[in-house]
């Protein structure tokens, strides 16, 4: 495990891992919702009761702690990806970049400005908030 990553490397890794995870969920979600209206074999409107039956069965199958945990982690990843992505777009257009400076001892990497560091931690904070919210929805930990 690369524990000596700097903040920007962690941000880069998390952004990519979360992106891939969300895309995989997206594929599964499209397949799963497609099954409710008849799956790949039926290309006409299925009976209402059949769709309702498949939906209810799918819900019952997926209502387990493992899947709820997975969705909660996905909530964390989605919120991190979304708000870290805003930071990246801003940085790409040069809005929150640090001014170029001479290399001076102790040569701290100047690749992330204070505003960018703040935005990174804001995205972590929002992701944790999403995780807690999701855990509360699925497991009723807070009993709000």
């Amino acid at each position: 495990m690369p524990f000596r990553y700097g903040l920007e490397r962690w941000s880069y890794t998390l952004q990519r891992v979360s992106g891939v995870a969300i895309t995989l969920f997206f594929v599964a979600h499209i397949v799963e919702t497609g099954n409710v209206v008849g799956g790949a074999s039926v290309w006409s409107i299925p009976p209402y009761e059949l769709a309702k039956k498949v939906w209810t069965e799918t819900e019952a199958f997926l209502a387990n702690p493992l899947f709820d945990m997975g969705l909660s982690v996905l909530g964390f990843l989605i919120f991190f990806h979304a708000f870290n992505g805003i930071r990246l777009v801003l940085a790409h257009f040069g809005i929150i970049l640090k001014k170029p400076s001479r290399p001076e001892y102790p040569y701290r990497p100047g690749s992330m400005s204070p505003a960018q560091r703040a935005l990174f931690w804001v995205s972590i904070l929002l992701a944790v908030a999403a995780l807690v919210y999701a855990l509360n929805v699925f497991f009723e930990v807070l009993r709000l």
Partner: protein, 120 residues
């Protein structure tokens, strides 16, 4: 399409997903309790109620297209960074485009059928 335009589109779709995805998450979690949203029908933001509404079903279609592009373009960028080569690059681009298009077609079918099913 030139790489700079693809990345610009990547950012634009990313921003738009904030809106379309926000609507999707709102209907599931915020506008009604999660248990009510997970019902098949008969509550204001149940599955069929969302698909019955043209605007909400339309926002799902937009989300489908946006995430298909954004997600699979992201995958393409990651794969093209892992390994280089003209044939590899073309193969990755083609695969990613085909899978994304297939998902958009299959998802659009789901939305169209669910919309008509909800309005029976």
């Amino acid at each position: 399409m030139r790489e700079k335009n693809i990345m610009l589109l990547h950012y634009i779709t990313g921003i738009l997903i904030l809106v379309a995805g926000g609507i999707h998450l709102s209907t599931v979690f915020l506008l009604s309790p999660y248990e009510e949203s997970m019902k098949f029908d008969s509550s204001p933001f149940s599955v069929m109620s969302v698909y019955r509404n043209v605007l909400l079903a339309g926002s799902l279609e937009a989300l489908l297209i946006l995430v298909a592009f954004h997600g699979f373009n992201g995958l393409r960028v990651i794969l093209q960074e892992l390994h280089q080569g003209r044939t590899y690059k073309k193969a990755v681009s083609l695969t990613v485009t085909v899978v994304a298009l297939a998902l958009v077609i299959y998802g659009t079918r789901t939305i169209l059928i669910a919309h008509q099913l909800a309005n029976l």
